[in-house]
Symmetry: D2
């Protein structure tokens, strides 16, 4: 593909493209929502002439988002939102097979990482896409001259949205942002169903233990925790939940789970998983009281939820006994196994969210991009929720892809509902 | 109890008091949250000198709320919020055994119903308690002179809150209202767990069918629908969900249920239950296509969800075949069984919410009354949510009653959480 | 119906027939398997000229069995297998509306009970039907002259089968018996699905407690225990299992339940149900250590599983607080609630097995009667299992009634299967 | 370890021993039952002087069995029971680190495979251990002179037991065999819990699809099918079961699953898994009617359950799109994905049974070996079940390892039970 080889970019090895392409196509099979949008985009070209700079994890699913944007007419480039998460074959294929400039090498050092963000900004985007707000942050600090040309941006993550809201509150944000993370069809589904399954999957791949009959402790009963607890129970485990919020704790009880403080749960658990968003949820004294052979993993926030320094201070020795499994032998003679160094176990030892989950998330991204293009810059500066019609459209497309049909309100029903709900 | 007999009130038969008392005490066993508040109220008397007029369903659980208010120092009276829901033995016992003036007779006519509300208003309340806003409505239309003396009111139901919000929007509301219904520990628990169980219970008591292996159709996947669907599945049914909202429909799919339009579901269902809040969710053409022997029940909104007139027009004959079970023999030769005349099946053929559910609801009521007393009238006119500390206190007391202990954030964790969530 | 009034029998009140008939017809709706057999019997009259004496619980479901036998040509009479279980309206309707001689009055004394069995034996049966072997026992002791005329009998219960096997082993049994209880489609389904649901139903009707979040202890993890445990979990309870058999205990663990000795479980349980088949499974020391407010019920064997004498010796007082609920106030100040006096809670406070369960059981009875008629007395004396083709036929008819179709083996598949399973 | 290097054997690469040892130790962590037996064996040396030839899959779990036998005093050797399943690092470690002669190289050709069995037979075993009866078969055909010295053998698999029963029936079997497969703690647990989890695990590793909301078809509702169906449901799938047996089909219905013929199920399924034990359960016409993107896997019997030749005849093209995933593009334009070439998906793309499952199986093996040693050859020739006390001992040890305690019958209870069950 002689034209494709002319595509600029900085990837590890362009010869990996063939493998990458197959994997991108496999993922696309499982992204029917994005697929339906892509078809529309190919016909209507709603992003014609729009320059998009995206700073996302360079994975097969992201590749399909980029291709969809390209097919919608956009002139899109991509850089990595994390130095470690790049799939080099995907990056190669994007450049070689799809003509999408990509700047991203797995394991790149800090300087390269920021150089790649700069390369993406050199594209002079009309729209930014972020996963953690690094691109927008760079733009607001190093490349402020670009802000005027930006119609708006999108942000994928909780962390990024928090960061951008802080910028908005401080009055420094210079263009509107659509918080894709806030869409029901994004956070509601990826936390419960995505994290629920992939966390268990990560633990099984790392350890190959039989869950049936084990005590599995899930720290945190937010949407992620519910997902993990429900899946662990579905595989035969007896699940214990720990919480700091009494309402959530009560829900866990009413859902049939045992609830207790971590100090007790740590001693009872065969497997302990944290999904709280807070630090040192499993602390030194918890590690000290664990059963011999306890397995500990984190699927919540970065790698902060386990106090691994505290654990190390209790350990007489440590060694890797299986990929992603580190054995700590404590001075008390017991062994504790920590998975994936306390990093997100679903990303580390499994493959992160299945494509079906990213499908809905990236469908929101694609439709948010079209929405920003259609605003012609008239959207107020600030952080905006995904418009409800986009959110519902994603749900509707997903149902269509599954051949699931639903009811619609008759006029009479519509009227009845509004009459009593509006209190007239 | 010679003094008690002097208690005013209008009840069916004071000699029913003994039976009522036993039943009130049985319910109290299952209301540990209200019990903990009662103990505090007995010591601190936070409602000393406060006159309360309550307009609620006169049941064993309500009796325990009234006793708790009385023990907190309140001078409380009670009238019925519905002419049909009064338990006459409970009304008798409140007057005879607990000295609480009660105006309420099961099956009272419309005039008596309103006379009873007037009797409650004659009490010149500092605080009103409503279940559907009838008391407040009467006060604002017939007894406006009383409004000045009112510190505030509470409201138990969705319907009442909608009505009061409309009054507030129209500028006619004259004092603050605490919307008890909005408390997480109220609507979140009674819809899912209360309605979930009691709906199934009502169907079983009415029919004694074996749920295992049946197709159970649940119309609506709000909190009630989730509860019913989950309980039906828990008893071995294969559950089909119908919805009009794509996001909820998608959740139902992801939760492992089949989703289809009612036109298909009606033909597939062995049992069909509506919990949508809208009218004629099961319409004439649905009844026409049902299986021979289909059972249809409503556990949603009043008796509007089933189009029973439409059904009647299809029927060659009808008769009652079992208490709460009406058999319609259609012209097409098939039989359809309607439970409880399309009225709420959990209230009609079972006993409504278990005491444990009302416990949390009425704990919110009691604490909301104390809160109103403590505001000394400084709360703004309008409809207010239950303060979060009350909501969490109810959850915490419930956990305590179950001997469930939970974690608390360390200072370090509190700080970490706020640091990243606030984006600094 | 002038002829019908000539039908002999001894029932409480023939004027109850109308109510009974409605209820018999309602049950028939839920007995499609028996219905399909009845239709065949009406056409083929396989029992023409056969005299049948049945000694069964006189309920709506039994009535439909009797009607089916009659429609198959049999000359059938019925007496009660238990002095307390007769539904008098059903007995009346059998005599008045269906012309089936019935000898059975609810609450009859011992003499009447045996006189009724004698009346049934006066019928000189070709086939006996028993539920506990009382009829066969009487025949073998008091009416031995009848044995020669008997082609064979059927037996419904575990207890009866055990008794008859003992008779066979002792060489005193004089004709063949088909042990209906041994059919997969009988014990396999009524224990798991029937007892599972009806036990929970009995507890809910007796107490109206909310199961969600409660600790429910199930003693025994046989088929009944599995059923109860699974249903309790399905309603949101956290289930604890007790067992004496290590393999069953291990299964319970692997199924995600907590397993512990009753001494610990009794102290942890909010509700405790016994389904073990053994006596005093909940003993005095267990009652002593229960939580305040614990609810205890039996759904296993007669009324022997709870040591109620032991409990009584611990009690300072006792009283009935709700129908089927007896409150024991112990000297330690705690209250324990015993349901239905320790008798089978599903029969006492609910309605026993749903008709759908009895349908399969009685379908086996009807087909076993035809089988006995077809043997012309050539079946060996002894206790026989239900022939596999009858068992499978019942399953197949049940599937048909639900419109469920299944696969059949191709010749090639049949051959492959037998080739490797037979090791050639 | 200079002595160890003298251990004979034929393995791929002795330098792999270090990796193998770590993995053997990791598995041992999850084999507490075998661990408890090993401890006893180390003390009592019940196999002192006994020569054992084992022909098993050479895996980490088997290694721990061999070590346990060695520690019990046995002089044990090992060869592979399958040319493909050997873990070369484990074989190396057994020879190098544990001094156990091992003859097994992954991918060995047919001649080598049989030569290795001969090498194991050269050991002149007192006890044989088989997984498929190859060793016993060789002994009975090529090495008949050895039969006299054999006390007995054990057999791990269904297939092997069938083969050996056929030999016994034909009168050619020359020594007693203990059918380990028949132990409750073997087949009951590995089919339901082991195959249940590992099949799902295999599908997830191969495809990374999100199960929630998918239609998963499980062909066969034996113990494996139940396990797979229950786990798929536990992960949010809507499960469809196909069966040829009406009783099993009915159970599946009563357990809340949809049941239909494969001709319909194939068209409805997103994922289709076979666990029937029969051939071509998914045939050409089924493949033809599948949805675009359907995933098909086998976890039942060898690779016969899918008619892949039939599928190939429908395909315009095929290619591998992911490890273990072959894409067939049919002439009708739809794609079908076949996992692991139709071989057992849990072994191919996951790691087979977790160690906890093999633990119970191999505990039965070790105790059966001790049992054979203790018979001194007095056990009758033929195929014997594992003695019940061994089976229960394995369950009891497993419970002990989980700190689960259970009840024991009192004398009074023992007596009561036997009295009514024996009909006196």
């Amino acid at each position: 593909m002689s034209t494709a080889t002319a595509t600029p970019g900085d990837v590890k090895d362009r010869s990996l493209a063939e493998v990458g392409k197959k994997r991108i196509e496999w993922a696309f099979q499982w992204m029917p929502v994005l697929g339906s949008i892509r078809k529309e985009f190919q016909a209507a070209r709603p992003l014609q002439g729009i320059r998009i700079s995206a700073c996302l994890h360079v994975t097969t699913e992201t590749a399909n988002l980029m291709i969809t944007l390209r097919d919608g007419g956009a002139d899109a480039v991509l850089c990595a939102s994390n130095p470690l998460s790049t799939q080099d074959d995907v990056a190669a294929s994007l450049v070689e097979d799809y003509g999408i400039p990509t700047y991203s090498i797995k394991g790149e050092d800090n300087d390269t990482y920021y150089a790649h963000i700069q390369a993406a900004l050199d594209h002079k985007p009309h729209i930014t896409m972020d996963d953690g707000a690094d691109l927008v942050h760079q733009l607001h600090t190093e490349r402020t001259e670009l802000a005027d040309g930006v119609l708006g941006g999108t942000e994928e993550t909780t962390t990024g949205v928090i960061r951008l809201r802080a910028m908005a509150n401080d009055g420094v944000l210079k263009f509107p942002i659509v918080a894709v993370n806030d869409a029901m069809t994004k956070h509601f589904f990826d936390n419960r169903y995505g994290t629920g399954q992939s966390t268990i999957d990560g633990i099984l791949r790392a350890t190959n233990v039989l869950l049936a009959g084990l005590n599995v402790v899930v720290a945190g009963y937010g949407w992620c925790g519910r997902g993990v607890a429900s899946r662990a129970r579905g595989l035969g485990a007896s699940v214990i939940v720990t919480e700091v919020d009494p309402t959530r704790a009560l829900e866990a009880v009413m859902d049939g789970f045992r609830v207790m403080p971590m100090s007790e749960a740590a001693a009872a658990g065969d497997i302990i998983v944290t999904v709280t968003g807070d630090k040192h949820v499993v602390g030194k004294h918890h590690f000290e009281n664990m059963k011999d052979g306890a397995i500990v993993a984190n699927s919540g926030h970065f790698n902060v939820e386990l106090d691994l320094e505290g654990l190390a201070s209790l350990a007489a020795s440590r060694r890797t006994v299986r990929e992603f499994v580190e054995e700590y032998t404590l001075h008390n003679g017991r062994k504790v196994f920590v998975l994936a160094d306390g990093r997100l176990v679903n990303l580390s030892s499994a493959e992160g969210h299945p494509a079906a989950v990213m499908d809905m998330s990236f469908a929101n991204q694609a439709l948010a991009a079209r929405y920003l293009a259609e605003t012609h810059g008239h959207l107020a500066v600030g952080v905006h929720s995904v418009p409800e019609e986009i959110d519902k459209s994603v749900a509707r497309r997903k149902l269509d892809s599954m051949n699931v049909r639903i009811d619609t309100l008759s006029d009479e029903q519509e009227q009845y509902l509004s009459s009593w709900q509006e209190g007239t």
